[in-house]
């Protein structure tokens, strides 16, 4: 077949469609074998020469340093920390889960209460990066532990930004669970698509001529090709083992597992992960520690998958921090709340690991959780204009 399509009629194009279909839209391939879309933005981030993508993990639910890097509970966090920079005096202001996590993503100490369900009025890191670095929706992802409230992390209500610059968000527990699979597939199960019919399907879809409505207030702006890839990913994930993850801390485990798969398939430039399950601490210290250990194990797998991937290794930066700590003393239920205003609550450990960062370094100077967003934005060569944080000191090699 000629390498040029010039001079071919539409009939000819359709007849030879099998050879012209975008390979990345073909489902049914193993996750690891799905072909990543080449980045149109070149190999380098403006402010960090070696880094090509950033993973930001909010190790949330309220986690004290005493049970993580100051303990034997988190060997994987420790080795990630030893290969990077640790800020053990990272100050947090908000001590409600939602507000504290949003503060990390906006770079502003937000004033939300624990149950509020509104979007922040400020832009998030995802919006800054997508708008000013001109990234598509499939380049910016957020994997959450799964509550409805967490979908609000994707974007805020600042009219200069909004949903069209939001992160592609997926709440693992909400989709990849046994109940949803049962409703979806029942006795039939999730079928493996026929590759030939799938190729025909994409050609048929592309033949529908209706002009797409202009995005107004809804939609993060996935183009049809990206939407098809995400559809394939969801199908593969549903057929895979993520839905079978159960037990204490399962939601967080799913969020990290989904993040690992998203990195493999979509190679996003920016990937956020938010965890929540350590909040079982209110009722049980032992369960809290168990969840931390499980999350550490999953983060270890995530880190190892990055290091063993020829594309991701040597080009991926990782930021990991809790949204706040927990009280100094146990409560009457032998659990840990988060309301005593102690240093154990307001100071957490931030770990930064990446090819442009120093190694095996501890920076004892006090920094803030709201410093993460301006730092990551700077790495992308953009300014988080509304943020009130500052770039993290002593980070870069």
């Amino acid at each position: 077949m000629s390498s040029s399509r010039r001079g071919m009629s539409r009939r000819d194009v359709l007849r030879y469609g099998a050879m012209l279909a975008a390979a990345s839209a073909v489902p049914g391939q193993a996750l690891a074998g799905m072909i990543p879309r080449p980045s149109p933005f070149g190999p380098f981030l403006a402010g960090a020469p070696l880094t090509q993508r950033v993973v930001l993990v909010v190790f949330g639910g309220g986690v004290r340093s005493r049970e993580t890097i100051q303990s034997e509970n988190t060997p994987n966090l420790k080795r990630i920390a030893e290969a990077g920079v640790v800020y053990p005096q990272t100050r947090v202001e908000n001590i409600g889960h939602y507000g504290a996590a949003v503060s990390i993503f906006t770079g502003i100490s937000e004033s939300f209460g624990i149950r509020q369900n509104e979007r922040t009025p400020h832009p998030t890191l995802f919006e800054y990066i997508r708008k000013d670095a001109k990234l598509s929706a499939s380049d910016v992802w957020l994997s959450t532990s799964g509550s409805d409230q967490e979908t609000n992390y994707s974007y805020g209500n600042d009219p200069r930004f909004g949903s069209r610059y939001g992160a592609n968000l997926i709440g693992g527990e909400g989709i990849f669970n046994a109940e949803f699979r049962e409703v979806l597939a029942g006795k039939v199960g999730i079928r493996q698509p026929n590759a030939e019919q799938e190729e025909i399907l994409q050609r048929l879809r592309a033949s529908v001529r209706t002009p797409r409505p202009v995005l107004s207030e809804s939609g993060v702006g996935n183009d049809p090709e990206s939407a098809a890839r995400i559809e394939s990913y969801i199908l593969e994930e549903l057929r895979g083992g993520t839905s079978a993850i159960t037990g204490l801390g399962a939601n967080d485990a799913k969020a990290i597992r989904v993040a690992r798969n998203l990195l493999t398939i979509f190679r996003p430039k920016l990937l956020g992960v938010t965890l929540r399950n350590p909040d079982v601490a209110h009722g049980s210290f032992n369960d809290y520690v168990s969840v931390i250990r499980r999350n550490d194990a999953e983060l270890g797998l995530l880190y190892d998958s990055i290091q063993s991937d020829p594309v991701l290794s040597g080009s991926t930066a990782l930021f990991i921090l809790p949204e706040f700590g927990r009280d100094r003393d146990l409560n009457e239920r032998r659990g840990l709340d988060h309301g005593d205003n102690s240093d154990e609550l307001h100071k957490v450990a931030l770990i930064a690991n990446g090819p442009d960062f120093k190694r095996n370094k501890i920076i004892t100077r006090e920094v803030r959780s709201i410093d993460v967003t301006p730092t990551v934005a700077k790495m992308f060569g953009v300014t988080a204009g509304t943020s009130r944080g500052s770039a993290l000191p002593g980070l870069f090699a």
Binding site: R115, T144, S154, L169, I175, V183, Q197, V208, A228
Partner: protein
């Protein structure tokens, strides 16, 4: 502008989606052209399904869904009482916000009062702190003054707030936007709100006026996104002829709510349902390709394919390996199917 046209399949689909939250069955679609818009709309707004759809959307507005959902009261419940005319729509909303589910979902004086003021009066509570504080005192058991009326406790707050004209005006504007898909001007909302206050069963007449208006017909000329509820219920009716049960609806809607872009997952759901129903579709040898393509566009998009679309689809179908169900799959997983 001609107004609602029941011989236009898109108009009929839109009417059912807006009033009942689902697409018409094949029989309903076929019968529609034989009646008049005035008659069909009167039939639909007196339907139990109309009120159940209203009730579901109201619960979603107040986030009383899934585990926060009020218990189903069956024949004694709000939708049935509305259908029978025992309640007007204003009282229906009062009952929702006076119920234990609303109370559980909004615990504490700050949360409860803020939600009531914001969602029933569209008030910015941060700019009306005096009102907020008065409401909080009332919540805590003190006799307090709110909007010039004395009251005490949560019931006092709800009573006083729902006595304000702004309460009925906001309901009217919200419902207009929900059904017609266009914003309503404040003045329009005030006029409709006044009617709702004067005549408890004015709501169904208002809805009929809205869908029989030129503005509604004009809006139908452009595409409007389906809500998750409309998508799920419409998909089930389109592919199975039946409605999803409550468990199916809850789980599917829950899954769609945890994605920033639900489009790809909606396509996955459509695929899965098609796979489960695939035996209902004809084999390649039993169907004329061109008729299949036209029927598929009409059935699921409410329109005929353009000449170019028909030609492209026919070329692709002519390849021996294209199954009829793939034609259907291409339409129900296309982004246009997520609009109406």
């Amino acid at each position: 502008m001609a107004g609602l046209d029941l011989s236009d399949r898109r108009h009929v689909r839109a009417l059912y989606l807006d009033l009942l939250g689902r697409t018409p069955t094949a029989d309903e679609q076929e019968l529609a052209p034989s009646t008049k818009p005035e008659i069909l709309t009167r039939h639909l707004v007196r339907n139990r399904e109309f009120w159940e759809h209203w009730y579901e959307d109201e619960l979603y507005y107040f986030l009383l869904i899934d585990n926060a959902r009020p218990e189903d009261e069956g024949e004694a419940g709000i939708p049935v009482r509305l259908m029978k005319g025992e309640l007007g729509v204003l009282d229906g909303v009062r009952m929702i916000v006076s119920g234990s589910a609303f109370n559980r979902a909004n615990p504490g004086n700050d949360t409860f009062v803020s939600v009531v003021l914001e969602q029933l009066l569209d008030m910015d509570v941060q700019r009306n702190k005096v009102v907020l504080e008065a409401g909080k005192k009332m919540y805590d058991g003190s006799t307090s003054n709110l909007f010039g009326e004395k009251g005490r406790g949560q019931s006092g707050i709800v009573r006083i707030v729902t006595n304000q004209d702004g309460f009925s005006d906001l309901i009217a504007r919200r419902q207009y936007e929900r059904i017609v898909g266009l914003p309503a001007a404040r003045k329009q909302g005030e006029a409709w709100g006044a009617r709702l206050r004067e005549e408890p069963d004015a709501y169904v007449e208002l809805v009929r006026e809205w869908v029989l208006s030129d503005a509604y017909a004009e809006r139908l000329a452009s595409l409007r996104p389906k809500t998750d509820n409309q998508f799920i219920r419409g998909l089930w009716v389109d592919l199975t002829g039946k409605k999803p049960d409550k468990v199916q609806l809850q789980r599917l809607r829950g899954a769609l709510s945890v994605l920033a872009d639900a489009g790809p997952l909606r396509s996955v759901i459509a695929r899965a349902l098609l796979d489960a129903e695939s035996e209902r579709f004809p084999d390649r040898g039993d169907v004329n390709g061109e008729e299949l393509i036209k029927d598929t566009f009409l059935r699921y998009l409410g329109r005929s394919p353009s000449p170019e679309e028909l030609e492209d689809f026919a070329i692709i179908y002519a390849q021996e390996d294209t199954e009829p169900v793939t034609i259907v799959r291409s339409i129900v997983t296309h982004w246009e199917y997520q609009y109406y």
